[in-house]
Symmetry: C2
Subunit: 321 residues, 2 copies
């Protein structure tokens, strides 16, 4: 089969890859569409050692799996858990000690014709939800993880720093809480997407110090962190939603004096994400930069790597799927 | 009056200081005893610009104040709040925008014959509680702040890193929750104080990675932070209880991947601290290194600055108080 193979920080379109064999309890899935995420770009830069097929945001169709999954259009949670360790027993499979992670840790990813995942990881895509829209389930779930970790009240002043792909999804999910939301970034054209949904936006430098209860850092760079930190009131909460290249340096004494809470946030609830997409409560269409066939995967990556790019999708069959 | 005056990183015993004038709503307090805290040592090193009388842990007697305070033996909360700002209205006076802080920010401190504080900040010391023991109210309240911020369950594995003055108070308060507690440090003789109270202790290097639900960092140095961080399970909570000299560098991506929560923690509930001291639920006696008369304040500081020193107290009248 075809697939985008990462090895030694080089991505290659291969056509000689074997179709994976589903293990006990797993399904074989024909990938329909997949999205390129910043984590893929970081893996390409060597953020984490990985060798194999990239990709973890996808929609596919089950071609081999127990009933009633056969033929079902699905999305899939990316952490394949052991079901037996401390974290699995505490219902925290995303932190399973022995997990593999689709296209990230020891499991071949979604930028290919086929992938395998445990059936326990699959969620059916509602009939009327398009494959293109459903491809955003995984990043939207990650955005929703914030609300699993932090209770957000309508009176809370909430700042989102960064208006990239993740920042926009985070902003749209936070807006649904009715909180007092502001999104800041550096690209007026992207902020306009949010303004069109009646979300308050501003340029990055215009945020007052010590005025927000909650700040969500979606840039993954130290400047974004510093801005989110400064914007927080004492006893405020800073959610870290991006991975950072390299180390972060901070003033820990200020965290103590202001009793700030910092929370790292990763994978989230797929069912809630699918529900929001099905209800059209979140609009992902302005986030799509382009869709490429898998055979043009390297061009798709080149576009995704351009500064300011939005979501670039890969279509495994024809573009009309 | 006499007082230990800090100016340009130099501490001086002065005898020419004016007795402070209590403002409206304030009491004039004759200081009986006071404790030297690491924050005092940091101020001496220039951690925060302050000029004036040091000291914020004290017991005193009200010599000028409305009834029924007149003649009362008291401890006092150190943040003098405005009562009107955003934080005061939200009952967070320790974060008041316009606060002064006894011996730390714009308010003359306790290493002197007299101090003033708002009557609202005062707590009567129970009759049978000794002045010496009650001097630990402020740091014990700071230790108890952890439990105001984090719910600790009996099944939680909790690590305290650092067995200094604060670490020992933190450990004793956490032990009262019935959690599975381990305290690690570098001084076997200090750990022995805790072992004598049936608290599990160990040497700093003996902690396994990823095995604790909660870690409390009480050393204020980067090595202590790193050890607390590594000891945490995914979804664990790291409480920062010390101020840090300089910047702290950390792996923010690891916080995101493991969904770690970092919480800064400062001043805490005086009433609960007094209650524990009055019930003898916490034993501060092994923490006392020495008590000096105020006139030997500089010697007291020299001892407090020695590596491994425990609490050094200052007595303002005679040592039999």
């Amino acid at each position: 089969m075809r697939g985008l193979w990462l090895e030694n920080n080089q991505l290659e379109l291969r056509t000689d890859l074997p179709v994976p064999e589903p293990a006990e309890g797993e399904a074989l899935i024909r990938v329909l569409r997949a999205g390129i995420c910043n984590t893929d770009l970081e893996l390409l830069k060597g953020y984490y050692p990985y060798r194999g097929i990239l990709g973890h945001e996808f929609v596919g169709r089950v071609v081999q799996g127990a009933n009633p999954w056969q033929g079902q259009r699905v999305v899939g949670e990316i952490n394949a858990a052991c079901g037996q360790c401390y974290y699995c027993r505490r219902h925290q499979p995303t932190h399973c000690d022995r997990r593999t992670v689709l296209g990230i840790v020891n499991r071949q990813g979604a930028f290919a014709d086929y992938l395998t995942l445990p059936i326990a990881n699959l969620h059916p895509v509602p009939e009327h939800l398009s494959t293109q829209t459903a491809t955003f389930t995984e990043p939207l779930a990650a955005a929703l993880e914030i609300q699993e970790q932090v209770t957000i009240h309508p009176q809370d002043r909430v700042l989102v720093v960064g208006e990239g792909k993740l920042g926009q999804l985070v902003a749209q999910t936070l807006a649904l809480t009715g909180c007092q939301l502001l999104v800041v970034g550096r690209h007026p054209e992207k902020l306009a997407n949010l303004a069109a949904r009646n979300i308050a936006t501003g340029l990055a430098d215009a945020v007052g110090d010590r005025t927000f209860d909650i700040a969500v850092e979606c840039t993954g760079n130290p400047e974004g962190f510093e801005q989110a930190r400064r914007a927080l009131r004492p006893r405020g909460t800073l959610v870290l939603k991006s991975t950072y290249a390299g180390q972060l340096t901070l003033d820990a004494s200020a965290l103590v004096v202001d009793e700030i809470t910092l929370i790292g946030s990763r994978c989230g609830p797929f069912a809630k994400a699918l529900d929001l997409l099905a209800k059209a409560a979140v609009d992902v269409s302005p986030l799509i930069q382009a869709t490429y066939p898998l055979t043009q995967g390297l061009e798709a990556f080149a576009l995704a790597q351009q500064r300011g790019s939005q979501k670039v999708l890969l279509a495994m069959e024809d573009l009309q799927t």
